[in-house]
Each structure stands twice: as C-alpha cells, then as structure tokens.
C-alpha cells in the first residue's frame, strides 16, 4: 500500500511542476472577472440579437400598419396594383392548413407514440424511434418536392374525386380538383409535423412514473385501460406541450407549403382551392415587391406570423417545462 502511494504521489508532483512552468501558460489565460464578463457579454449580445430582430421587423412594418390601421388585419383584398393590402386571407389560410395538419397529426402522432412506448416488441422500439427522429431532420424542401411531384397527382386523381363523391361535392368539397391547394398543403404539413409530434409525445409518455402503470396492471386493468386512464391523463400537460409545439412548426412552415398551396391571394372557399399562408405569400412576393407599401405590408405579415409563432411557442415551452418539473419532483419523492 505504502509503495503504491509513493508511486501515485510522484507523477502528481511532476504534473504540478510542469503545469506551473509550461502547459498552463501556453494558452492565453484571462482573469476570472474578464472571463465571466465576456461570457455575459455573449449572452447579452444574444438577447440583443432577438430584440434587434423584433424591433427591425416592427419598424419596417410600421408604414403598412400606420396606413391601413386595424383594417390591415381584417382586410380581405391583397392587390398590389391598387395598393390595397389586407392580411385576412393569409391568416385564414395559415389557420386552415395548420388545422388540417393537426386534426390528423394529433391522433396519429399520439397513437404512434403510445404504441412505440407501451405496445411494441422491445427489439423494434429503438430502431423505430431512431427512424422517427431522423425523419425530423429531413429538410422541408424535400417534403415539398415529394408533395408537389408525387402526392399532388395522387390527390388530384384519387383523394379529391373520392371526397367529392362521398360528400356530394358541396361546401368544402366543391370546386375544381387541382391537386395543389389547401388540402395538399394541410396533408404535407401533417407529414412534416408528425416526427416532432411523435418524438415529444414518446418522451412525455415514457416519463410517466412506472409504478403508476404497474399499479394499474396489478389491479387487473387491460393494456388499453392503462393507456387511456393512467398514462394519458398523467402525461396530459406534456402532451399538450407536444401538440402546441407541433402547431408552432406547422404555422411557420414556409417552403413546402409554398410549393404546393397554389398561391392564390383570395380566401379559399373549398378544401380543393388554391390558397396562401402568411409565410407562403412572403416567400412568393418578397423579391418582387417594388412598391414600398408592398414590401412594408409583407413585413407586416411577418410581424403577424412572428407574434402568433412566439405566443404558441412560449405556451408550448411553459407546458413542457412544467412537466419537467413535475417529473423531477416525482423522481425526488420516489
């Protein structure tokens, strides 16, 4: 033992010696105060960046807001030739495409997450989960290309005629069947938010305390009763966070929607109609905007989108974060 201790002490002494003479001095060393100050400066710069972003957008959008007033939000006409700008068609288009996407993504995403956590062979769990996560990394422009060249012809020739036939072709199912339009934009958004929805729901569901689940099984509950009455209620606020976060993604998604929505500035009267969202109209018209009010109005649309996206995301983060705290507490108690 004593021999070992000596062996250990020697290299330590060497290391200390070399540290004071060479190694430590080769790198520029700054005082603790300067080090902390520079880190704080970087963090402050980051906050400044966000403030600059918001202020820049608001300042540039001011002419449009000042000129059109509240009517900018309620105006239904978007007509650069006659200098008329109203955001309503795009707000509606954004809400409609997001609604289509979420109506599909919530049940499908939740069901998939439940199966991945609780009802699948353990050997399949890891590869399927990884696959879902990797699919979240596929660039949105690739989804857009696929939707435009593969899904659009299929929607035009099969989905839209079928929907029109079964519903009588009235109301939201009327009009020419073009393939591109509101429905396709909603469908591609559904596919795009699905990985996010599944990945977050899966994490939330997996963090439901194990003893609660096992207690329910011990009482004789079937698997479905456990999922429906124990897992889902327990994971409720986290799942709400997953839904909100996915909604945020869908609201702001630009390029894939721009490729498939048909870019019409009129309010859509049918699921099959071409339409536009806040982000798609910005992507489409921004570089063509030569008239000053046009550019300012497009930036004003950006401000509207920014406000919606920030509210939705802030809500989502608070929901997901409160879950984190809850589970930390339950872990501490257990």
């Amino acid at each position: 033992m004593a021999h070992q201790a000596v062996l250990e002490r020697e290299p330590l002494g060497h290391a200390r010696g070399s540290n004071t003479t060479g190694g430590g001095l080769r790198l520029p060393v700054v005082s603790d105060g300067l080090y902390r100050a520079s880190l704080a400066a970087v963090a402050a710069l980051f906050c400044l960046l966000i403030v600059a972003l918001v202020v820049t957008l608001v300042v540039q959008a001011r002419p449009a807001f000042a000129h059109f007033g509240f009517g900018f939000l309620t105006g239904t006409a978007w007509d650069p030739v006659h200098v008329k700008y109203g955001a309503l068609p795009f707000v509606i288009g954004t809400l409609e495409t997001t609604a289509i996407a979420m109506v599909l993504a919530i049940p499908v995403g939740l069901g998939t997450a439940l199966v991945l956590v609780h009802a699948i062979h353990p050997k399949l769990r890891a590869p399927l989960s990884t696959a879902v996560e990797l699919l979240a990394a596929v660039p949105s422009v690739v989804y857009g290309l696929w939707a435009l060249l593969v899904v659009a012809p299929w929607v035009r020739s099969i989905i839209e005629p079928d929907l029109a036939r079964t519903t009588g072709g009235t109301g939201p199912f009327s009009g020419p069947q073009l393939g591109i339009g509101l429905l396709l934009a909603g469908l591609v958004l559904f596919v795009m938010v699905l990985p996010t929805m599944v990945a977050i729901s899966r994490d939330v569901i997996a963090s439901v305390p194990r003893d609660e689940v096992e207690a329910a099984y011990a009482l004789g509950a079937t698997r479905w009763q456990v999922l429906w009455r124990v897992v889902l209620p327990s994971a409720r606020s986290g799942l709400l966070g997953a839904v909100t976060l996915s909604t945020g993604r869908a609201l702001g998604e630009t390029i894939a929607v721009t490729m498939v929505i048909g870019n019409s500035t009129a309010i859509a009267h049918s699921l099959f109609s071409p339409s536009a969202t806040l982000s798609s109209v910005i992507a489409n018209q921004f570089t063509e905007a030569t008239e000053p009010f046009h550019l300012s109005s497009l930036i004003a649309l950006g401000v509207v989108l920014l406000v919606i996206a920030m509210l939705v995301n802030a809500a989502a983060r608070l929901l997901v974060r409160s879950v984190g705290r809850q589970s930390a507490v339950s872990v501490a108690l257990a």
Binding site: R16, N19, G24, L27, V29, Y35, R36, S38, L39, A40, V42, A43, F46, L49, I50, L53, T56, L57, V108, G109, G111, V115, A119, V132, L134, L135, A137, V138, P139, V141, V142, G144, L145, W146, L149, V150, V191, L194, G220, T222, R223, W224, Q225, G248, G252, E253, T254, I255, S279, I282, A283, F286, I299, G302, L306, M310, N313, A314, A316, R317
Partner: protein, 301 residues
C-alpha cells in the same frame, strides 16, 4: 337446513360474480384490442408517408446522379449535362461561415447559462427557446433588412447570417445540457489547484463535454444545411460559380426549390438528385453526431 342453504347461496353468488367478472373482462379485452389496433393502424399511417418520401427521393434521385451532376454547373432546361457543383460549393461556403460564427458564440452562451442560475439566465434560456420557434422565413426577412437592403445587393454573407441565427439557439441548448453534465467535482478540482476559471473551462469542462458539444454542433449544421426559406431573399441562388461571399450564391436547398417547381422533367430530375444529396448530407451529419457522441462517451468512461 340453514347450515346447508348458506353455502349454496354463497356458491351461487360467487358464480354470479365470476360470470359478471369474466363478462367484464371479455368486454374490456375487446375494447383493449380495438383501441390498440387503432393505435397500431396509426403507426402504419405514420410510417407510410415517411417511407414514401425516402423511397421516392432515393429512387428518383439516383437516376440524376452522375459524374457530370457533381462536377458541372447548371444548364438551362432542355440542355443535358447540368450539375450542382456551384450549389455544393455555395452551401459549403454559406453554412461554413454561419457555423464558424455561430459555434463559438453558441458554446460561450451555453457555458454562461450552465454556470449561472437565477433570473437573467432564465430569461436568456427562454429567449433561446423562443428564438428556436421563430419561423425561419422571419429570420430571412431580418437578414434581408439588415444586410441586403443596407448593402444594396443580395449576398451569400446575408444568407450565412440568417443560417447562423438559426443555428445559435440549437447550439446554446445542446451545449448547456452537455456542460451541465460535467461533474462539479472535476471543475472544483481544477479550481482548487489554483487554476483560473477560463483555464478550467478550456482544459476541464469543454473537453469533458466534447461529445455533447459535437452532437449539438452537427445537429445545428444539419438543420442549417437544409434550410431554404432564409436563403430566398439573401443568397437568392445563382447559375454561376461564385466563391465571393459578397455576391449572390447558389445553395443546395435553393436548387431543390427552384428546379423542383419548374415544369421541365430534366430540371425536376436535378431537383430530385439534389434532394437525395441533401438528405444524405443531413442524415450523415445526424447519424454521425450520434456515433461520435456514443464513441467519445465510451472512451471517456
């Protein structure tokens, strides 16, 4: 009499309860089966489009791949032999500049967050979360106003700025998590030896957190490489070979968008080929980040 009747009644009652229970169990099992099959169906519904995206991109994209595709400049529709050489170089330059600025910035901010508690850190953390939820097209508008309109021309550097802003919150969050994972005792050992905080950060904390940092950086780069919207009004795309960041420049996602919406099959094929290349790059970065993290993690343990 009473002695024999009571067990009979009890027996009948027990049978009745057992019948009820087994009836209930059967019903509950049917519900369970139906519910689970619906969920299983949803899993299939989720997998079909996701597999379809990959399958079509691979099948159509491979047809576009050739030596010319990777080494030539784009040609107008109808003229064969066009390629994406300029877009590959363009994406490398745009995303490279973005990463060179965003990575140290993000890691420094992550280090700050990991070392500080309280209100200020909470606000910055929340700001990073919210910024990561800002639609990328908004960041494109910001870059346009800040760097395109003020300078009077479209440029790759404006695109780098927009992509960099997108990368920063991802890097901040990943590096904060990685740095928080470093045991306090390591940093305290360094400090107790008399090392300055900056030395401890550079020699102890950052090397120990390296796997997590690399994962975060690669994920941020993967996200940045695929972003199209912020480049629409900044780098804007180009048919020519450009290496000057002060000029408009081609980029891979812009090629997919701009060629994909054309009615010409040969341009659409270029778009598929570029999409496949883009997916390959993004997946290599994503998978690579996991492998590197796992490997470095194991070596350190």
């Amino acid at each position: 009499m009473t002695m024999t009747q009571a067990p009979d009644r009890r027996h009948a009652r027990r049978e009745e309860i057992q019948k009820l229970a087994s009836g209930s169990e059967r019903r509950r099992k049917i519900y369970s089966g139906v519910g689970l099959s619906i969920c299983g169906m949803f899993l299939v519904v989720a997998l079909i489009p996701l597999i379809s995206v990959l399958a079509y991109t691979v099948q159509r994209g491979v047809q576009a791949w050739s030596a010319d595709f990777f080494s030539h400049l784009p040609t107008p529709a109808g003229i064969p032999g066009g390629g994406i050489w300029n877009a590959m170089v363009g994406s490398l330059i745009i995303d490279g500049i973005a990463a060179v600025v965003a990575v140290p910035f993000g890691i420094a901010a992550g280090l700050f967050l990991a070392e500080s508690e309280g209100r200020v850190a909470g606000v910055i953390r929340f700001a990073a979360d919210v910024l990561s939820g800002v639609p990328s097209i908004i960041i494109g508008i910001f870059a346009y106003i800040a760097l395109v309109r003020s300078l009077g021309h479209f440029s790759a550097i404006a695109g780098s700025f927009a992509i960099g802003v997108l990368m920063v919150p991802i890097i901040i969050r990943a590096s904060e998590t990685a740095i928080r994972g470093v045991p306090h005792t390591l940093a305290e050992a360094g400090l107790s030896l008399g090392a300055r905080r900056s030395t401890v950060a550079r020699r102890v904390i950052l090397p120990t957190a390296l796997p997590g940092l690399i994962t975060g950086v690669l994920l941020a780069v993967a996200r940045g490489v695929g972003e199209t919207a912020p480049l629409l009004f900044t780098a804007i795309g180009s048919q020519y070979f450009a290496t000057n960041p002060n000029q408009p420049m081609a980029a891979l996602p812009l090629v997919v968008f701009q060629d994909g919406i054309q009615a010409y099959p040969d341009l659409q094929q270029i778009a598929w080929g570029t999409a496949l290349f883009l997916i390959t790059v993004v997946l290599v970065l994503s998978v690579g980040s996991r492998l590197i993290a796992a490997r470095l993690g194991r070596v350190r343990l």
